[in-house]
Symmetry: C2
Subunit: 124 residues, 2 copies
Amino acid sequence: MKRKQRNTPQRSEILKYLEGNKNHPSAYEVYYAVKKRMPNVSFATVYNNLKKMTDNKEIMEINFGDKKRFDPDTSLHDHFFCVKCSRVFDIPKVMKNVSYKNFKILSHMTYITGVCEDCIKKGG
Amino acid sequence: MKRKQRNTPQRSEILKYLEGNKNHPSAYEVYYAVKKRMPNVSFATVYNNLKKMTDNKEIMEINFGDKKRFDPDTSLHDHFFCVKCSRVFDIPKVMKNVSYKNFKILSHMTYITGVCEDCIKKGG
DNA sequence: TTATTTAATTTGAATAATTCTAATTAAGAA
DNA sequence: TTCTTAATTAGAATTATTCAAATTAAATAA
């Protein structure tokens, strides 16, 4: 008998922080924000929840090499990392349908690194 | 006066292990292999060298979320990760010229996740 | 050639990221 | 309302990565 996902206060706070968040926060940033409202929450709980939410496709995991970041927007899109300001930008999907040999494709993401418009204007 | 890169025995062993290697080893795998020939080498040295080689574009860093892997093939190509056998495959570049707004593009890489042909045949 | 100088490199130690597991708890069943 | 149990929590452990003091390759001077 499969139990449904439990609705814990920790999970609610994490979701509340992420909803509509365009900043692509890291696990630590989520932890830091949630901790303000729930001082006893543990970093492991934040990790566990972020992992579960990613598995459930409630959020998306972004991996630019330094550390994982999280995006509550699960619509089809890719990401751009600015090496000057370190911000992550949402960008339209570079390639919608990808295939290779007879391999079964489950998901794909394109990571772009460069300098954003703001930083170019400031003299990047 | 800019000094040139130094030619240390540690660096040579790391390069020797990587050259022609199609297995996309992790930093630990490189360390483990090099340690067999140089028992006193430190993990930090392997890290430092892999980072420097990546900066020099002598090798390429691959980031599928679990941990960093390294690829001595720096020609234009993307990567596929098989969720069954955990192998990383080289695949042709999904998209050669990428652009977005006026952003300056420095590099881009597409990561594909799925099931490889071998694993499908075995009943994936 | 050999000694001196110095910045690149090395490495043990420190820090940061992530996972593990025993204890706790939300919610379905009695 | 109480009992039961699998999902969740969180401190501890592990794994990944970086730091900084000591070492060393190689450029330059003697």
